[in-house]
Amino acid sequence: MSGTWMTTRAWLLMAPLLAVMIAVIGWPLVDTVALSFTDAKLVGTGGNFVGLENYTKMLSSGNFQRTLVTTAWFAIISVAAEMVLGVLAALLLNQEFRGRTVLRALMILPWALPTVVNATLWRLIYNPEYGALNAALTQIGLLDSYRSWLGEPGSALTALIVADCWKNFPLVALIALAALQAVPREITSASLVDGAGPISRFRFVILPYLAGPLMVALVLRTIEAFKVFDIIWVMTRGGPANSTRTLSILVYQEAFSFQRAGSGASLALIVTLLVTVLAVAYAALVRKTAGSAA
């Protein structure tokens, strides 16, 4: 069949998707860019052109810088922990033991639990007066008095990270497990015969098989973590003393609570730019890893 005929057909089939995407993503994005140069309010008449003022104001505000650090910290720690725990769980699930199928089936549950339900559940667990965590830790003697897990800046972000990890590390584990099962048996046995220790075996024999899929998971999870909103909104709303306020929460506050659509839009675009840079850098890394693994 002729190439151009095929391509025309293909474009026709692609058209509905592209039309919808332009309507619900393309146009809003362009509009956000336009808004970001104005002092528009959320409701009411459009604003006046103010040039780069929104951007300079946002970038220089202490609130933004602090929030950026909080977001980056949340993203780096939670994603790193999810990767490590996920791979460990996958290595375990790749072993033979009784009940393996059941355990593997259970792994999908935290992932399937809606994010808002997960956040609500952990908020109840962390409750300073009646929460299960305080009760459990004091009853087994690890803690001598109840603590305010979500009320202390030192522990609030960590508590959020734990809740996020619990939901997401099983996903990494399942992806890693599928990759592990693709490792040919002969290779692992051969390396055993060669006398490789478990760590070097993991490093040089197994890891290359995992690298590709894990990189994809890493990229997706990092982008997700950078955009985080739901879990924080439900658990702390950015408190205490703004120690868990992430970029998405800050944009919400600016654009919707304070109704400053213009500066909210500029802030949202700064976040978008950051995520894009991150994703492009990662993509380059993925290509490199894929190249070296092959």
């Binding site: 509905p16 809003p28 990759a179 944009v251 995520v275």
Partner: protein, 281 residues
């Protein structure tokens, strides 16, 4: 299979038990809270197991008596179901032709990349114009409007899944059918689509779960029972005047039930979907 030492075997079993406990403990606790009497949940020391199971909260939330808390909750359940179903159907309808087109005409690859790249966009970057646009169209606080917005999340994802699905179906089969005189449409309908049915099902499951989970847009674009979804209803319950933690837990259990059941029953399909993109790099 190489032989493992006894110590190693014991270690593996212990680690497996630990993993199972970590996964299950919070989930079991959620359920226990939902059937514990309120007094048990504020007891010190905390009572871990209710003396008598109390299912009255399920009855309360699922009651449909007009003008009641239960009616409000069931309305949000219905809305979630409606929005997620509509968005899923629409996303699949867009993804099948587009996924097939990209799979068969590599010249289009860049357009799919562009669509997938929109995944990077934080919803906050689209929220203000979407809010204004929906307002202009009279689609705020409306299940159709919300379903439309959900396409921003679902469509790129399903298209990508469908494309990797079609990639596994040899195009020679299609070519042979067309040489036999079948039109493109016939070929797709009779030959390709049935072969791609498992991928369609997987994509639909994912799309449904994503839509069911969505919170941010629902929070912004819905205001009452006419469109408010379950995630927002639960956040309202948890943030408001509900001093009975058991009731919050009950709402959580009810909201989690559909996706957890889907996850549990369809896990083979879901895992293959999750990993197909990943494994191929």
């Amino acid at each position: 299979m190489e032989r493992k030492s006894l110590a190693f075997s014991v270690f593996v079993h212990l680690a497996a038990l630990l993993l199972a406990a970590v996964i299950l403990a919070p989930l079991v606790w959620l359920f226990v809270m939902s059937i514990s009497p309120a007094a048990d949940l504020s007891a010190k020391p905390l009572r871990w197991w209710p003396q008598s199971a109390d299912f009255s909260r399920y009855q309360l939330l699922l009651s449909t008596v007009a003008n009641s808390a239960g009616a409000a909750f069931t309305a949000s359940l219905r809305n979630s179901l409606a929005v997620a179903s509509m968005a899923t159907v629409a996303a699949i309808a867009l993804a099948i032709p587009a996924g097939w087109a990209v799979s068969r005409a590599p010249a289009l690859n860049w357009s799919l990349s562009l669509v997938i790249a929109t995944y990077m966009l934080p919803p906050v970057a689209l929220a203000v114009p979407l809010y204004m646009g929906l307002s202009y169209l009279g689609l705020l606080n409306n299940v159709f409007g919300l379903a439309l917005v959900y396409l921003t999340i679902l469509a790129p994802f399903t298209t990508w899944l469908m494309k990797s699905g079609f990639d596994t179906i040899p195009r020679e089969i299609e070519a042979a059918a067309m040489i036999d005189g079948a039109s493109l449409w016939q070929t797709l309908r009779i030959l390709t689509l049935p072969l791609a049915a498992p991928v369609v099902a997987t994509s639909a499951l994912f799309a449904f779960l994503l839509a069911w989970d969505e919170f941010f847009y629902a929070l912004l674009f819905t205001s009452d029972q006419r469109a408010k979804t379950l995630t927002v209803a639960i956040a309202d319950l948890a943030g408001g005047r509900v001093s009975d933690y058991g009731l919050i837990a009950t709402a959580g259990v009810l909201a989690a039930l559909p996706p957890v059941l889907i996850g549990f029953l369809m896990q083979r399909a879901l895992i293959s979907g999750l990993t197909s993109g990943g494994v191929k790099g």
